[in-house]
Symmetry: C2
Subunit: 356 residues, 2 copies
């Protein structure tokens, strides 16, 4: 499937390089992030440390790897792209990582997901009430982190964060509602609704991370806005690739079950695009998805074939390409410093080709 | 029990006056609050309207009375006390009402409370996941409301809100943990821990409301700080009176069951103060509370008697008085405009003598 991303050929082929970039940014942000978490009440602080992968339930330190830290890296690299040292972005990087973790915590409650990164989710490990609480604590801490940045850049950063928070909730509301909407008919989810959901749910915080990095570095408003758009496109591209992997990804690489998203009846872009087409494959797919039973292996495999025949896979790939091209155009438009520009491209390639 | 509040005699005796003040402030703030809620995604917007008492499940408008609106009134009156028109406080009033509703929504999930103001709580009516979501939406909206206030007052307001949000979560964490701590021994909850919890959980947002009103009115920093302290003391006084009503309140007036807090084994100040004393009543109370069974009517009545004999009721009353006196001292220290000062005193009297 790598060949399906020709636009990325020769760009950041080396996953090891991407991991080095992520590691460098994580090392830069980690002390401030840890200090912020330590300011919490000890109980939510432990739950927060657990969800960052820093400790086990009970507080024993662990070597478990947390998330990739894409958002903090984006903030740091965008400050550097604007000509400032990465340190300028640290408060922004801390805030976006706090918000990201808050949203994972609360989303896991809403979606009833029992595991994340091969460990019990916080609500499973500590209970629903405590998981609601620690999410709130991280949310408040993120706002406080930016509200106390001195000078005019603090208020600017808070405005960016507030806008992203609103979008995040909007996207999650749509995503939750999609589950109860039909596959076909006037109430069906349209691909453009999906796009809007993905931009809000995934794009807004990546855009915010990029914008915060640039804003805290003192970049001009149009640079901040362009990097915000770059991050948003990156988020949608990431989400679409995630959808493709959820159907056709190699379980040995992704760690997810074959056709997992189809068996869970998730309304992802390849399916919605296939249903939005016309022809016999679309009709057969609609009939198959209309069956009341949870799809078994054979049904899921057949659905994947029909989605591909109806053009859903190609449409999603094309969508991902479009957003990747938009990211590159946004980056080019701000004439970023060369090294961070290269690293941002490496990160993008890693994000949209990860595990493929 | 009215006679137990001699410091308040002759001050704002008229509950009707307090209700008029609350109504005036509600009318001033309501349009902006409604506009803010309308900016939400329609689904959380309906749940928010339900929790404000504006509609039933499904969206049908209702005449149900929501909360008293004490926080918005405090913001408006403190702006007026600082010499500005109440309109100056509106963004702050909206923000504190949004945060208050967010915290009720999430607290009801954490505490498993099925009803609030004689209606199903949001998690009961709409589900836990949606209730988590709408809480987050209100939280984000509160931050956005203040982040977009123009000029230097917006950032100042955001800093006040961020600090209160942190305190709120801290207080809720302590309150949840109190439930699993023992009545006696080294791990028992001490009265000073209770005071700190009440200041964080209830006082911080009332203090924030008062501070926001003054800050948005352009009051000097020391006035803002004094009104913040006034609000915090008001919150603790309110909480302690709530505790007294939870044990000795008239169920016909409070709408709560006789000895309700005792039967629910809540760690309230009268009990903690009684256990912190010494003597035979304290010892008998400790023995009674140490029994494993849920207290029946007779046991709860006996516990209430022992708490009174051990001085817990008097200690709590004395604590409430101390905070009421502190509120008045803080108010006096800022030389407020006469009419709002009188109205703030009426509101205070209403709050600490409500339903008695």
């Amino acid at each position: 499937m790598t060949a399906a991303f020709p636009a990325l050929r020769g760009v950041g082929e080396d996953t090891a390089t991407a991991r080095q970039i992520l590691d460098r940014c994580r090392a830069l942000v980690r002390p401030a992030l840890a200090q912020a978490v330590e300011r919490l009440h000890p109980w939510p602080a432990e739950m927060a440390a657990y969800s960052f992968g820093w400790c086990e339930v009970g507080g024993t330190p662990t070597e478990v790897t947390g998330g990739k830290g894409v958002r903090q890296a984006l903030a740091v690299l965008c400050a550097e792209a604007a000509g400032a040292p990465g340190e300028a972005a640290v408060a922004g990087a801390v805030a976006v990582e706090l918000v990201h973790t808050f949203s994972l915590l609360h989303d896991d409650i809403m979606d009833g997901d029992p595991t994340r990164r091969a460990r019990p989710t916080v609500w499973k490990a500590y209970g629903t009430g405590p998981a609601v609480l620690v999410g709130d604590a991280l949310f408040a801490l993120a706002v406080e982190t930016l509200a106390t940045v001195p000078g005019a850049r603090g208020p600017l950063a808070v405005r960016h964060l507030a806008a992203a928070l609103g979008d995040l909730v909007r996207g999650q509301a749509d995503d939750l509602l999609f589950a109860s909407r039909p596959w076909t008919g006037p109430e069906a989810v349209r691909p453009d609704e999906y796009r809007s959901m993905a931009e809000h749910k995934t794009g807004a915080l990546l855009g915010c991370a990029a914008a915060l990095g640039a804003a805290l570095a003192g970049a001009p408003d149009d640079t901040v806005a362009a990097l915000d758009r770059a991050g948003r496109h990156m988020g949608v591209a990431f989400q679409v690739v995630d959808d493709l992997l959820g159907i056709w990804g190699d379980p040995g690489v992704t760690g997810k079950p074959v056709h997992g998203d189809l068996r869970q009846r998730k309304k992802t872009l390849p399916v919605l695009a296939a249903l939005n087409a016309s022809g016999p494959a679309t009709e057969s797919l609609a009939t198959l998805l209309g069956l009341p039973d949870t799809p078994d292996d054979a049904t899921a495999r057949r659905a994947a074939e029909l989605i591909e025949q109806a053009g859903g896979r190609a449409a999603a790939l094309e969508e991902a390409h479009r957003h990747i091209a938009a990211v590159e155009a946004c980056l080019d438009s701000v004439s970023p410093a060369p090294r961070p520009a290269e690293e941002l491209r490496t990160l993008l390639a890693f994000l949209v080709r990860r595990d493929m």
